[in-house]
């Protein structure tokens, strides 16, 4: 696979070529799409490899590509404080089973961001230590950032008087 001139992608492809589905470096952002079963293995390599040293998991989010299979795409932004470089890792998640392995054992910052993704997109994180909703309340029905969740849907009222 072509590394698009990025030494980060080259190193990833040299060590985990079988885990990588696609790479691109659009607009200067080195990006790799990996198999979701191999995600933790790839992430552990990216964190522990001295040449890459991605010590910070900056951002975790998800995109809903309604109509495509697999439907969801998890997006992870990594940053290396030591080497000052960035990498984006993506993994596709199907609608059923809508789950992917958690990254909490690698970076504790994944904890809250994965809770947010569960809350808003309904992607489950296998092995997550605290799988509660983050922004919304437990009685909320559905996952509002899914593209098939209508913006004007009303939620049942909750509380002692209802």
């Amino acid at each position: 696979m072509d590394d698009h001139g990025s030494p980060l992608l080259r190193r990833l492809l040299d060590h985990h070529a079988a885990a990588v589905i696609d790479v691109h470096a659009q607009l200067g952002d080195a990006t790799a799409l990996v198999h979701k079963e191999r995600l933790v293995e790839v992430m552990r390599f990216l964190r522990d490899d001295p040449g890459l040293a991605f010590d910070m998991l900056m951002d975790v989010t998800c995109v809903d590509y309604l109509g495509e299979t697999p439907r969801f795409e998890m997006v992870y932004h990594l940053y290396s404080l030591a080497k000052k470089h960035r990498l984006r890792i993506k993994a596709r998640v199907p609608e059923t089973p809508c789950e992917i392995d958690t990254l909490c054992p690698l970076w504790p910052s994944a904890n809250w961001m994965e809770r947010e993704v569960w809350d808003l997109y309904g992607v489950r994180f296998t092995g997550h230590p605290d799988p509660r909703r983050l922004l919304l309340y437990e009685e909320f029905v559905g996952h509002p950032l899914r593209k098939d969740y209508p913006k004007e849907r009303r939620q049942p009222l909750i509380g002692p008087n209802n």
Partner: protein, 406 residues
Amino acid sequence: MANEPRSDDELTGDLHAEHQILNMGPSHPATHGTVKFVIELDGETIIDLDVQVGYLHRGFEKECESGSWYQCIPYTDRLNYNSAILANVGFCLAVEKLLQLETPERCQWLRVMASELSRLGDHLTRCGAAALELQAMTPFLYGIEARELCWDLQEALCGARVTSNYVRIGGVKHDMPPSFPRQAREVIKKIRSLLADFDAVVTQNRIFVDRLKGTGVISQQDCIRYAVTGPVLRSTGVPLDLRKDEPYLTYRDVDFDVPVGEVGDNFDRYLVCVEEMHQSLRIVEQCLVKLENLGPGPVNVDDPRVRWPAKGRVFNQMEELIQQFKSVTEGPRVPPGEGYFAIESANGELGFYLVSDGSAVPVKVRCRPPSLINIAPLPLMVRGAMLADVIPTFDFLNMIGGECDR
């Protein structure tokens, strides 16, 4: 039998007491933010703490994904309402990355200046409100007076004090007024004097120092593991500042220092913030000189994809009329692709991850909120400490509900 002596152990040993659960918030007078802490207490010692956020969730991403790219900008004002311009700048730079636009030099200097004014206002609120919540009213008034002056400048730039809506895709709303440099220099002088007053009342104050020193300590390793950025990370001695490390706009040509702390406690965070305010004032002064030397010039990129045509042409030429109509009703179309752009906001790395399918409506607008990510390790910072330590620790994490909950 009645007066049997009690054993030492019985007199001095621990009482069998249950831990108490205390709900603090969501609207607590001593926290300036809508957040709830469920605190498990043993006497006044914190055994554990659960942070519950989300009370200010307005569906920022959902709203952005149902309007045009331009309609997102007012929503970004309402993320961190202490430093709205920083969020404006971050979002517009991310869209410009997708559009591969380069803004004119004058626009970049204006953005840098507006960003620093915004950062200054944010830090003034943080330090002032922290003093207030530690029962010191006077320094709070100094801080708020300085913030008012700072907001006067923002008002002169964009007509609004809080929800600025100043930055546009490919430019800014308009150039600074001719009287701005003079007004700004007067205001900077006044803010410096207010900061000196603030410093005199607070920095050596026994009560203030005792409440801050050694409380809310977080180690460098924990900051990195939790992806904490901004003044909190810098207070542990890591000089990560995206203005230096990944310079955007014209930060490469600006002379400023990145202050760092040593031990990562609340006092270090306070000192880092105070020094950052002085550095922001330095940057604003350099921007004023630069803008005066540059002389008049365009503040918007001349690109028909994002800019409306001049009114004179709209009224007289068919093509321009059509373009104006399309721009107003539909908004700009952004080429398909994805991009992440991060700026150094007052709280840390404020990133926007955007996905476009080539239409006029974004597929995904993700805001990486530093407030949310910085407050996640709060339990680590206060476990084993006293209940009262929650207040200064929360203040100097500076969680802004609008940005945290979106």
